[in-house]
Structures are given as C-alpha cells and as structure tokens.
Symmetry: C2
Subunit: 540 residues, 2 copies
C-alpha cells in the first residue's frame, strides 16, 4: 500500500521514556534473568552507599534474595542512611529521569536518575508486582509506600501509603522488589558484585542472605573516605550550545560576572582576557549577546590558559588501599600500584588508579574494572579499560599473552570521575574517550614496568641457581679427574671449585637484581587544557 505524507503524519506519536525502556530494557541491564537480579541489587546498593556517604554515616547494608517460585524472586535491600522524605518517594521510584545527581558535578555512583525507577519498571513488566518502599528520616515516623509506574505518562502510581509510629527512630530505606530472575553464583553474579563492592568500599558492612545461606562482608575500615565536593563546570568543556543556554539562564548582570561566577577557576583577569580575545565588552548583559559573540567567546576560551578544575570533587581509592585490598583478597607474591594525577575530559575531572597483582594464590588472569567504586561485571568487550589493557604489549614486560595476559596476573583498574561516560544506561562499561584510555595505559605501563623488573630478577635468579647447581653437581667428578691427573689432594680441589663457582655466581646475581627495567612504550605525557579531546573517541 502506497502511503501519503498525510497518512504517515497520523502515525506519529510521542513516546514516554518509560515506554522506551519497557521495550528496550536490555539497555538498563535487564537482558537476561541472571543479570536482572544483579542489576536490581546493584542499583539499590549503589544508592544506599551514595546516601550513607553523603550523610556521613558508616554504611550497614543488608541484601536478601529469596526464591518465591521458579524464576520469581523477592529482593530486599536495606540501609541505615538518612532516609527519603515522603514527598520525594513517588518521583524517585516511580518516574524515570528524576534525581539529584544528574545536575551536579561531584563523584557519585548514581548519576542518571534512571536506575532505581528502572528496577520498579522491570518488576512490574515481568511479574506485574508493585515495589514496596519503607523509609524513615529518623524522626519517629516510618512511611510504607507501595507503587508502580504509569508507563504511558512516566508518572508514579501510588497503590498504598501508610505511616507507622516508630519509637526507636530508625532511619534508612528498605526496598522490596518482586522480579523474574535466575539466581546463580558465577563470575558475573550478585555474589561476585558484593565481593568486589567489599574490596572497593571497605568501610561498608554488608550482610547478604542468599538463597544458599548467609554471607557477611565485615567492615574493614572504621572511617569514611574524604567527602568529594561539588564543583562548577570548567570552561574547557563548554561548547557553543551549552554556553548559549547558560547565558540565557544566568542571573549574572555582566559577561565577566557570568564567567567568574558560573565556572570554576575563572578569575577576573582570565574573564577579561577571554572577552578581549573574543572582541566582546566584559560589561555587556549576558542576554544581549548575539550568536556570533558566543561562537567567538568559545573560540577565545581555547586560546586562554586556565587553571585545571579543582580535584576535591573526586574520591579516589588511594594506592595503599588498593595494595592492601589486592594482598588481602588474592594473596599474590607481587603487587604494584599506580595512581595517576587527575586529568580532564570535556571539562570534567577524572583520575585513574591501577593495581597489578602477580603469582602466589592467583591461578588465572583477570581484569577487575571499577567506576566510582562500583564493580563493572558486564560489557567488557567495549570498555575503555579493556581497550587499554589489550593495547599493552604484555610480552615486553615478561608477561605471556598477545592481547590480555595469559600468566596469573590480576589487573585492577579504577576510574573516578564527576561524570563517568558509560556505554549505555546500564552503566556496565566506560566509553572509549582517548584521554581516558591514554591515562589508563600510562598507569598500566608504569605498573607493568615494576612487574617486569620483579619478574626479570626472579627469572634471572632462577636461571643462575639452575646453572650453579649443575656446576656443583659436577664439582665432585671434576675434582676426582683433576686429582688423578695432577696428583693433588682431591678434597682441596673440590673445595676450590665450589669456592670459585660461588664467587662467580654471586656477582652475577647482584647484577641481575640491579638490572634496569625495560623502557616504557610511550613514556612522554602530553598535557593540555582540552585533555586531548579534540579527536574524540577512537575508532574500534
């Protein structure tokens, strides 16, 4: 049937974001029943950790997964955080794209305002069951809310809402989901996720009642990490469109005032330099700027040297912490850790930390990926971390393997950022921004050099020991032969030979241990304000 423009026009309709993810739920991490349980637990635990940390409370997290019937589970996640005010409950849980973390620049696990309402949506699609939220802010009133999502409107549908007096004044959030799923304990499971969470968040106490029994991850540190601070955007990351919008919305009364008050690290002098280079009056009202002015301002920014954004918005794990974590969990014979200085992509600060553990109890190679302390268990194939690891020539560092190591090496990579660029809403892998890949590679290379130096010492020493033992074994026979030929005392000759061998090989052993490590592949670091972002992500 041939269609006209008018007929086609009648078919056009708005699509709500809930409808979109109802159909595309694999984008949120619900592409199979095993992963679905992990996604629900991850979203709820990430939120619990964010909330407790923000309220400066040492997190006590309780997770329970209970089989109701075949492939149908009840999932409970409870925290001791500050709780949620009753007015916010419906939107936080019943509306996709609603949250507190999207609009600010500060490191946190959540950032999109999709995760937890996505869980509610998945439960309702697969089992038709609403989600139960119990919360209190510690003032003696506990709210119990039962809700689902009106998919066509992307609005919460409250089914029950009651208040209970609570003499103990508990505070926190407890969520109960009923979802289709399959519980497994393999490499990409809830259990593995919680294990890795315990590694990267040692100040959290986690109790997990799994279908197979209770597992406890006790608190290892009694102190919360330093609190990351919220920052303003940095001019190096601002493009014409965003600048135009910010100029329309600002309360500043002059362009110079706008630049110094709405961005980080812009002083009066820098602001004036930008205006001069752009040929615009610093005292002009922001709303009076023409399109070409804005284009000129954005161009001028690139020519002005600005201080990098402050990095107290980041909360890295720290080298000591990564090393002790790897030693405790993996019991390796060798560990190297490298923390890079913070860098910037699209105006957003980030920092890379890498650890390499080798040998000991490690039996097979592995790559552990983390973003803002959250373990990433899926979509390794397209992750910037995987890309960086496979671009290292491991053989150069004495490690077998063409792309990924084949020797017993565990690689730990953490990216901390105010805005992690994920490859999908499921937040399972990091987009391939070149500056991020470069930073990870530099850290990996530095770690790998330390490993190579260690391995080369170990291997040389082993080779020398082998040779020495051969000499010693033949010392007896050689001594007998020489004694017969020369008539000298056999015992004396034998001792002399052993003495020479020991002397000779101890020199060589010292040499081996002092040997220089192999050269880095790219030891130079190019640093510039735009963070090398000009060419964007690399091609695959």
């Amino acid at each position: 049937m041939q269609k006209t423009a008018e007929q086609m026009a009648r078919e056009h309709r708005e699509i709500s974001i809930s409808q979109f993810f109802e159909k595309n739920r694999h984008l949120l991490g619900y592409d199979n029943k095993i992963k679905a349980l992990l996604t629900i637990v991850r979203e709820a635990v990430d939120n619990a950790l964010d909330a407790t940390e923000e309220a400066r409370i040492l997190p006590d997290i309780y997770v329970k997964i209970e089989e109701l019937e075949k492939e149908k589970y009840k999932i409970v996640v409870k925290d001791n955080g500050p709780g949620i005010t009753v007015k916010q409950i419906p939107n936080i849980f019943g509306k996709l794209l609603y949250g507190s973390k999207f609009h600010r620049l500060k490191q946190s696990r959540g950032q999109q305002g999709i995760g937890i309402s996505g869980c509610v949506l998945y439960c309702q699609i697969t089992t038709g069951e609403p989600t139960k939220i119990i919360t209190s802010t510690g003032k003696g009133k506990t709210h119990k809310v039962l809700l689902s999502i009106d998919v066509k409107k992307n609005e919460p549908k409250i089914l029950k809402d009651e208040v209970i007096e609570d003499a103990e004044k508990w505070h926190g959030v407890q969520i109960t989901f009923v979802a289709e799923g399959i519980y497994r304990e393999h490499k990409q499971s809830v259990l593995e996720y919680l294990k890795q969470v315990a590694i990267s968040n040692p100040y959290a106490n986690i109790v997990f009642d799994s279908p197979n029994g209770r597992i406890e991850f006790a608190r290892g540190v009694e102190e919360l990490p330093k609190e990351p601070k919220e920052i303003k955007p940095h001019l190096y990351g601002v493009e014409v469109g965003i600048m135009t919008r910010m100029l329309e919305e600002t309360k500043a009364r002059s362009l110079a005032g706008f630049l110094t008050s709405e961005f980080s690290r812009v002083g009066k002098q820098s602001a004036e330099e930008i205006c001069r280079k752009a040929g615009v009056d610093p005292q002009i009202m922001p709303r009076k700027l023409e399109h070409q002015d804005v284009v000129n301002i954005v161009k001028a920014i690139k020519e002005v040297k600005l201080t990098r954004p402050p990095t107290d918005c980041l909360s890295p794990l720290g080298s000591g912490f990564i090393e002790s974590g790897l030693r405790k969990e993996l019991n390796p014979e060798f560990v190297a850790v490298v923390s890079r200085s913070p860098e910037v992509y699209r105006g957003w600060p980030f920092q890379v930390e890498v650890g390499i553990a080798y040998g000991g109890s490690i039996t097979e190679p592995a790559v552990m990926r983390f973003a803002n302390r959250v373990p990433l268990l899926y979509q390794a194939g397209d992750c910037a971390i995987t890309k960086a690891v496979t671009e290292i020539e491991w053989k150069r560092y004495g490690v077998a393997g063409s792309k990924l190591p084949e020797d017993p090496v565990v690689i730990f990579v953490h990216l901390a950022s105010v805005w992690v660029p994920f490859n999908s809403e499921a937040k399972e892998s990091i987009a391939n921004y070149p500056i991020i890949i470069k930073e990870i590679k530099l850290a990996l290379q530095e770690c790998a050099r330390k490993l190579a130096s260690y391995l080369s010492g170990v291997r040389r020493a082993a080779a020398i020991k082998e040779k020495k033992s051969i000499f010693e074994r033949y010392a007896e026979e050689t001594a007998t032969a020489i004694a017969e030929l020369t008539g000298e005392d056999k015992e004396k000759i034998r001792n002399k030979i052993i003495e020479i061998v020991n002397e000779r090989w101890s020199e060589v052993t010292d040499e081996a241990n002092g040997e220089e490590a192999p050269l880095a592949e790219t030891p130079t670091e190019e640093m510039n304000g735009n963070g090398g972002e000009e060419n964007g992500r690399e091609n695959e």
Copy 2:
C-alpha cells in the same frame, strides 16, 4: 558536610530526555568528530529510505558534506519521498522520543524516535546553529522551517517558518545541518557507509558530493523490495506487566475477544484453551480481571501451542541478491549464501541471512554487519554478529584463524526484524540474545561447510597436481635407467610411465572432488515457541 534527608530532597529534579542526551551524546553516536558526521548522514539517509519505501517511490538520495571552516561542516541530505506535513515538522525534528515507528511492529530502519532530533541536538550543542528543513508533499507549497530544541522542555523552538509556491510540485525532504566534525574516508566513514548502503539497497540511487568530489552509486535494480506488513504482537512475547496494561486499554468486551483481536495468530479455539488452562471465564470483561488472573493467563499461554507470527512483516534481502552483491563488489573466487527461516525472540519475528565470499580480489578478512538493511560500522566488539562469528571453529572449515578468520574471507550477515535489539540508542551493534546468536551461527556453519567443501577440493587438487608433476619430471630419468637395465626401448618405457601416472592420479582427483564435507558442529535445530528465550542473553 553531613546532609539530612531534607537537604537531599531539595536537590532532586526532573531530567528532560534532551538534557540527558545532551550530556550523554556518545550514546547517540556522537562520541567523536569523525563519527558525528557519519551519524548525522546515517540518521537522515535511513529516514529518507524508510519514507520513500513506505510511499513506494524508488529512492533518489542526495548527500553533500561541505567544510565551512576547520572542523565545522554543512551537511545536506535530500530525498524524493512523500514529504512531511507542516504540522509534524516541529515534533519530528525538535523533540526527542517522537515518531511513527516505535509503536508499530513492522521492519524499518528507524524505530526509536530519537535519531533525527538527536542530529538537531548535536548541531545545536556544538555549533549553536539551528537546523533547516525544506519539505513539500507535492501539492505546490514548499515549507522552509528553521528550528532548534528547547533542551530543558524537550520541545521544538521554531525560529523561522515560510511557505514558497512551487509550480513544479516537488515532493520530498531536504535537511541542512551545521555541525562540528572531521571528514575522513577510512573504514568507518560516511563513504564506507554509503558504499554498504548501496550494496544492501540496490534500488536506491545515491549521489554524494564529498569534500573530495562527487561519488555516484547508481541504482542497480529498478524495483522496490516487497513491502513489509505491520503485524500485531504475538502472545509468546507478552509478559505480565504488558498484558496488564493492554487489558486496561482494550476496547474488547470479553477476554476471549481481547486475545483474538489484539494478538496475531490467536483463533477462538486457542483463546478458549488459554482461558480454560488459566481457570478464567473467556467471557469476563477484561477490566474485571484480578492480578492473579493475569499471572495465570500468562502462565497458561506458555502451555498452549500457537502458530508462529506471520513473517510478511519482514523484508529480507534474499539469497540471490546477497550473492550478486558480493560477486559484484568483491570479485571473489567463491561465494556461499544461506537464508534461515524466520525465528522469534520475545514474540518478535526476525530472520538471518549470511553470505561468505572467499579469495579472488579479496585480500583481507572482514565482517560486514547489517540490521534492517542498515550497515553497522561501530561497536563490533559487543555485537551478536561478532559473537556468533568468533564462536565458529574456523579451522574445522579449512579457514585459518582462531576467533575471526585470518584467510581472505568476507562474511556478510544481515538481521531483519520488526524490532532489532540494539546495544545502545546509537544503533551500532545488536544485543546478545541467544536465539539471535544461535540463528547466525547456524547460518554461518552452513555457509562454512560449503566453503570447506570447496576449499578441500581445491587444496586436494593442488596437492595432486604437485605430485603428478614430480612423477612426470622424473619419468625421463627413470625411463633411461630402466632402458639401460632391461635393454627395452627408452621412449616406450617413458610413455608407459606417464600413462600410468595419468591414470592413477585422475582416479584420485575424482575421489577428491566427491569427498564428503566435514560435519557441522551442531547440526540439530531446536525450535520452540518461546524461541529459547528462557535464559535470556548469554554472559560475556
């Protein structure tokens, strides 16, 4: 600073879908400047092909990319389609999540209602420039609209709107974008995309004015493919939540009526069987059903044998077409093509077509991926097609390579579906649904067997030829030696030897050509209504 629940509550805000993609534009395919130009061209050309096909017009597509200044380009895409009614222009181009293809079940290139407005958003972010749309439905009036997007509201902002009388009554759409970008002609470029579009859409005529000159892809076929038909959803893909919503919205007055009218392939008998198994009265008003009834109905559906969904909603390329495309473009020495029968995932029909081309002018291995006739150039790492290809033991089929072939083999895979599950909104790779991977693997194995049979014949023949030539070379000398020993005539002996060699080896050659092909890895096909979807996607 310690935060209370009340302080946190104040930070919560709604996030518009435009804001979301403004910050996450890499999800739409704008993660680098080279790719940005490809994404814009792809979205516009995909829409042009969808519109012309739906109006049953042989597509004439014009694409122009012009450098305005360093890293700033003008992109023009024009088609001869039915045009867009003036009322729809603002929403189609100025609102994310608006479209005609999301709500229907029918194979098309677009499906999300995000693509083309995403282009407008990207242009406005990077250059601040609005997008110009010129369109006419062929009635003598041409509309020129200049618009951008109000990001906070996700609403169109019309900057100019004029009508021009057009005596020639042109119909179609012409869009002009101004975007930040970098033009390159490498493997993942606009040029490569248009080349592959020409392969998979030979009925389209494409003219491309690139910054390096004009390239024309002439129409190869004067006929449009069969038009895919819209279908209703299939019961096997419907879950409790969706069923609940459909029951609330239906105009049917009984459950049995609802089942037969709103789904494909449900007759009166099947509907009654479902109701009986669920223990629900077929005559009940849909709105009167309780939650447990719905759960029981969904369970009952799984126990009832239903006919597969109709497959005229699909528009596969066809074996003959793929073979001639591969022969024309690659000039190989051998081609094998396999079209699988349609299958179903989550109730949605899909079909896999595979071609393997070997040798000839092919110098290096490659995998060409297509979804609904659209070439996929990025994110190969996490694509179901790549996964299927790497799971084939190529060595078993006489092809070198451990995961991907290393011999000169080009693998062509097309997935046609009413709903392609993409890994992100950028539509660059297909999600790893096991049933989809399985279908691709089966098709690849069948093709690979044909290739193996060909290669084994070729290689055996080559080996025999080699041996034969050695015998012939030594016939002269052997004849001389025998003649001397026996006194017989040398010439006679030599002829006899050559005769024996020829006879012997011609037998062997016949044998070689008739040799059995190697066995398939998994020649059995399991078919069931749910399409093996129970375990969802596989883990990576």
